[in-house]
């Protein structure tokens, strides 16, 4: 008789692993770009550049993966980090709170990308 409950951890860890790659490879340079290179001007150069990138499906998929995988990666770390800090909550509630937040924000991201 098999009474073991299947763990969610492999799914969470795959997203965590993929997100870890995104945070390592993309986020440092992206933060340099948004913080120091994309200075707004009256010619709206930056606006038109990003609008043209995100009009293409490759740009949409790219930004979606960057944002959603970063969210899944970071909520996974905070979720387990709180456990390390002995912050305890209802198991189901904590799962819904952290992975649910990443999921809801990812859906919002996809919706906003599709209306561009």
């Amino acid at each position: 008789m098999n009474t073991f409950k299947r763990s969610n951890e492999p799914i969470a860890w795959s997203l965590f692993g993929a997100g870890g790659m995104v945070v390592a490879f993309i986020i440092p340079v992206l933060a340099i770009i948004t913080g120091f290179l994309f200075v707004p001007d009256s010619s709206l150069r930056v606006y038109e550049l990003i609008d043209s990138w995100l009009s293409h499906w490759i740009g949409k998929v790219g930004l979606f993966l960057i944002i959603s995988l970063t969210l899944y990666h970071t909520v996974h770390r905070v979720y387990h980090g709180l456990h390390d800090l002995h912050v305890k909550g209802n198991d189901v509630l904590m799962l819904v709170l952290f992975y649910g937040t990443a999921t809801v924000l990812s859906v919002v991201c996809a919706a906003w990308l599709l209306v561009i």
Partner: protein, 129 residues
């Protein structure tokens, strides 16, 4: 579960006692600014949908003094993550071809080379458009 295994008591500040545990916690904590940055990018996407002027206001916040200091925090957190992540990859990504095992240094080096190429490529894209 009927078992009630003994759990040795552990203070919530256990990680504070040791240099390695403190660094571990710093690495885990680096995910907080990165999470906030992802949410901030999402807000930028929302502003982009509102229009050019609204998006320019978001860009202006990014490149303001406070915005740039916060960006530096995110960059530092992401770099700390990248360094620790690439240290781990040879342990997870074990490549074998017959009896030959790809050395850890090659796996790590490959990640660093890719990192430099991605960084230069994205900077080039952002500057030349």
């Amino acid at each position: 579960m009927n078992r009630k295994p003994y759990q040795q008591p552990q203070a919530a500040t256990w990680w504070f006692k040791n240099h390695f545990y403190r660094f571990y916690m710093l690495r885990e904590a680096s995910s907080v600014p990165v999470f906030l940055y992802a949410v901030w990018l999402l807000l930028g996407l929302f502003r982009l949908n509102q229009g050019a002027l609204e998006f320019n206001a978001w860009l202006a916040l990014n490149t303001s003094g406070v915005g740039q200091i916060l960006h530096l925090v995110v960059i530092a957190a992401a770099l700390l993550h990248a360094y620790t992540w690439f240290q781990l990859t040879p342990k997870i990504l074990v490549l074998r071809f017959g009896n030959f095992r790809v050395p850890d240094e090659w796996v790590m080096g490959g990640h660093y080379v890719t990192w430099v190429l991605v960084t230069i490529g994205m900077l080039w894209l952002a500057i030349t458009g």
